[in-house]
Subunit: 500 residues, 3 copies
Amino acid sequence: MAIRNKVVLAMLFFSLLALSAYSYLGTQEPDVDPELITCNHQCQQQQQYSEEEKRICEERCEEYQRMKKERQKEIEEEARRKKEREHHQRQDEGSDEEGGEEESREKENPFVFQDKHFETRVETDDGRVWVLQKFTKKSELLRGIENFRLVILEANGHTFVSPCHFDSEVVFVVVKGRATIGLVKEEGTERFNLQPGDIMRVPAGATVFMVNRDEREKLFIAKFHMPVSIPGEFEAFYGPGGEDPESFLTAFSWEILQAAYKTQRHKLQRLFEGQKKGSMFNVSREHVEALSKRTMSPGIWPFGRQWRGPFNLLSNGPSVSNEYGRLFEMSPDKQTQFQDINLLITWVNITNGSMTAPLYNSLATNVALVIDGKGDFEMACPHISFSSEGRSSSATYQRVSARLRPGVVFVVPAGHPFVTVASTNTNLQIICFEVNARGNKRIALAGKKNVVKAMDDRVKELAFNFPAKLVQRIFNRDEQFFFPGPCTFEEREELGRAYA
Amino acid sequence: MAIRNKVVLAMLFFSLLALSAYSYLGTQEPDVDPELITCNHQCQQQQQYSEEEKRICEERCEEYQRMKKERQKEIEEEARRKKEREHHQRQDEGSDEEGGEEESREKENPFVFQDKHFETRVETDDGRVWVLQKFTKKSELLRGIENFRLVILEANGHTFVSPCHFDSEVVFVVVKGRATIGLVKEEGTERFNLQPGDIMRVPAGATVFMVNRDEREKLFIAKFHMPVSIPGEFEAFYGPGGEDPESFLTAFSWEILQAAYKTQRHKLQRLFEGQKKGSMFNVSREHVEALSKRTMSPGIWPFGRQWRGPFNLLSNGPSVSNEYGRLFEMSPDKQTQFQDINLLITWVNITNGSMTAPLYNSLATNVALVIDGKGDFEMACPHISFSSEGRSSSATYQRVSARLRPGVVFVVPAGHPFVTVASTNTNLQIICFEVNARGNKRIALAGKKNVVKAMDDRVKELAFNFPAKLVQRIFNRDEQFFFPGPCTFEEREELGRAYA
Amino acid sequence: MAIRNKVVLAMLFFSLLALSAYSYLGTQEPDVDPELITCNHQCQQQQQYSEEEKRICEERCEEYQRMKKERQKEIEEEARRKKEREHHQRQDEGSDEEGGEEESREKENPFVFQDKHFETRVETDDGRVWVLQKFTKKSELLRGIENFRLVILEANGHTFVSPCHFDSEVVFVVVKGRATIGLVKEEGTERFNLQPGDIMRVPAGATVFMVNRDEREKLFIAKFHMPVSIPGEFEAFYGPGGEDPESFLTAFSWEILQAAYKTQRHKLQRLFEGQKKGSMFNVSREHVEALSKRTMSPGIWPFGRQWRGPFNLLSNGPSVSNEYGRLFEMSPDKQTQFQDINLLITWVNITNGSMTAPLYNSLATNVALVIDGKGDFEMACPHISFSSEGRSSSATYQRVSARLRPGVVFVVPAGHPFVTVASTNTNLQIICFEVNARGNKRIALAGKKNVVKAMDDRVKELAFNFPAKLVQRIFNRDEQFFFPGPCTFEEREELGRAYA
């Protein structure tokens, strides 16, 4: 047994998982992990091993090293995120919840995205582009929308955004500020002056540039990308450029470029050394004024009939409106422009202290971006099971909830009942990208017209096991879609009680 | 070496895989696994460990625990299934095969599903809902149909099924019994009385309830779900309900509910305490009679033009019919209702002792549910390679075969030739959900019109390397689509031999 | 501690990863791995183990064995591939690059496929069928085209290809030689005589046979498969056949076949013993002549309106043409035939020493097959990051490059700028299968009409940070689409310098 012990120990010494407790034995060498050296050494010293077995052994060593490093990275990442979370921890005046609760809630919530779920793709002195992580990175439950990517662009006053094209269809929504957007076609350039609420579809492959027309006000644009080449992935292709943004032309060899442009190499080199300012940079007032002169001839864009220039979501008036809120939708003739991508865009403005009726979409999945104000979101979900506050984990429907503030993104899958509530201080404004929108119906669960109220008395009675008249009394109210919110209501309740 | 031994042993003590043999060392504590406690303890006691390493160590302990528990679950699950298999082992009078063979055959057959592949999603005293596992759980070969889910609902006499909506399109097919199905829209409720062969499309998000109109006879409904939100996953959303079925409204916080329904909390609490009977329960004859009165105004359903109420598959007469069997198909005007989901439903009734011609679908993949009778299924498949009975594994085409009985589901991918045979005692009835059906052709390989018979003589001769006349003689016969089956044939053969 | 040591050691002896160094202990038994026997034995001898724990233990043994075998397979596979690579290493006379560089370049290049990426699916004395590996086998970046498969068929003179159907839509393109293709429908056979440039769509499930009409010249056909049943997978289904090609009918049991064909078993057995020549074999001149007589009645194919027989890509003349090259495209009326599969086929002929303009597709992803000549391919890609020649890995756009020769396949995703160059000796001919082609635009980056030239001067200036006039001078030239290539250019440059 003794000899066997030794042999086994020797073997275990460099076996994959024994290594997990092994790091303190290594000698200190600067570049390569000493653990890896020792492990490989042990592999080579095993005389009973064939060359192939030694190779397998060494590969195990490396694999373990890799795993260890990844784990370390994860730990660092977690630490970084924790810091970030602490940094972002809202000092929300209306918040009566504790940070700890929110943190754990967030961890378990696959439908809500915050600042930390965005990656910075471009960052210059004059602007930034954030890309929301792939939806499936957060949860497999979002695989139905995995080909969509949400992007936020922020540009300082008089900032120019260099021309580029994308390998994705894109919809631009101007959230804040005044932009001039130019589309370049082989026949010339077409420019449009946009304001908040303007929506513009940019076809895949179309070269687009932008400028913030305003000298002071920041420009915020929400972009919804629908990749056409690699599902879920898109990139910006800068043709005009140089070192920064790098022109994709510089990826070609000099021989090719010389032939393509019938130009000597040194001239091309000079050309590509010109631009070093990045893809977003400040330009002069004169430049801005020249760029924001609208072009005269809109012409017919080569990207086909669906493309008809920008339109304003807010200008036609709301499709639903009362004192508690307003809903702006694309009019049917504008929708045809988006039919091939099966997308609908809506803009919701909930009056401070008000809320939306509990409702669900029959077909559409809603990717919602909070653009102004504060508030709350609650949704019932049967697809997840986790223990949330005050609710046994045996519940069929989990409450998904989130505090809303500008930049928060929440996803409402089809069929899922949800509610959004504006804080008592500010209106809550949300832009919704509704995918799979064709034929979608919003089905209300409360308000003047709702699906429970519409049931036969007998069905109400059977379903609730409760007198139909009492059910009807609860599900009957006059407002539609937008209601007074919980806070307002509490006051009224108080009032009511006083009178009772 | 001795000291090193001890150290290594101590480390190994709590390393991931050493733990697999470690359970007997733990002291008996009731709630937490003693193994986990010991493991974590060991992690903390390692003085050479940094805090981070201790943390990694403890995480490994937890991961091992999780793996162990999962493995235990699997073992239990396997045991359960084995019992189930034994329980279900058919005492099939027509079977001349041994159970053992069938079992191994089943294991290797990714195209056939039995009772054990269904999960019970609802079970009350009065009814059950079974959901077939995801097709891809069985085999990656079925990933082309992974978004579809087959469901069977069984309800006792006078059972009410509570109103709910689904995050999927659904097609209901009444297999047996008499149902009243109600669709609730915001303008009111529409009810339909259905009988066997009735097909009804329920749009995603539509609230639907049901009652078994018959006092005695069980109601069986086959449902084909096409999820719209999370691919391959769907859930029932019960709005009206309480504790059981839980109403999804109870997932919202009280403040939200109070505001949404302008109602005091205690009233809402009482409402949601009413229902405890589950989603399927027995109701009085009076209730049934009231519910099964057809509504007068069908109106126009808000879910759009494609929805036009139920229709009967059997009422228009078969599209193919002879003494050996009948095929019922949706007429072209009904098909338009299903065009957007690219689905065709057929009902096949094979006379006892008869069979279908060998044939294949050009485009459609057929998900077939046996609803009555017994029989056999054979299919040729080039995509799998396993050693089946009496057939070398080098064969290009594997025989996929299954005994058919009510509840068995078999899948026939496009292009795959197959045959179904009814037992000598009973007619075999099958409902087929044909996905990707647009433009599909059924291509026969035997019978009056078949693709081999239609070849030029020269091609026949070259392809079979056999005289065209003899090929023609074999591939020429009068019947079409339904033939006398093997058993009948054997008798005839005997007769034939007697005359020869 | 001593006893504990022993126990732990005993346990570790057969734990999963200790086994990795354990093989030398096994006694030599021929069939079963001695390691597995020892491991299982150790599991059984552990008295402190419950039955369940013993079972887990044995499963671990088996899992380890499986992993080991897989690893061995991988090693063998790697060795095989390495040999193959060495074998294929081109002795390309026009190549001025070193083999080593190309090899490493290839390894890092997910967009280019060579001989070794094809699998031989059929190989007889008279012909071969090669299938390109699944695109996703090479890179996840190609998952957007993972349902498409490229196939090359090569047949000697007077070779007959047996009738079969596919579970995929197929487009045949005759690359070289003269073929007769027959389509069999239940009403009869339709035959077409094809020549280079002929394109023919074969619907899924349609039975198709072929013959090389020429006695001497080889026939080359490129086939583009779009599976309809199992995404990314297709198979040939030979009905007429016997032992080789095996008839799929032989997968059915004899009872079924006897009943289906009302024929005695021995007759069927004789039929299926006839064919042993394989799916491609030489036939007599008389057979060829009989088969290549065109059928009189084209009739209406049962596969629907989209199918209208073959047409020639080259006969209508090029859509782009100059002395440097010609581009042949499907005319709009032919395109409708391919609209449901959203595919466009083009044939590019680049004059020796010439090149295509740098351009990108707005929507289509181009799967290009080199069919004649030699040359080079360069593409800019932002989705990959690897260190390529003379280019820091921090570059935004990587150069993807490949030497082109017949049989090489390269993929150009939407949005990616690329260039192809013909060698100075031979014209370069390429067939392009453009998927997702509906609404696609080719956007040029150089030449008479190009997107940079079309920009406003101010945008040019801002984007390049370079005087607009100089930018314009570089981006302004007269030719369109096809240009003189780098070699020609170099000479001119020399000339130019002489005159300067």
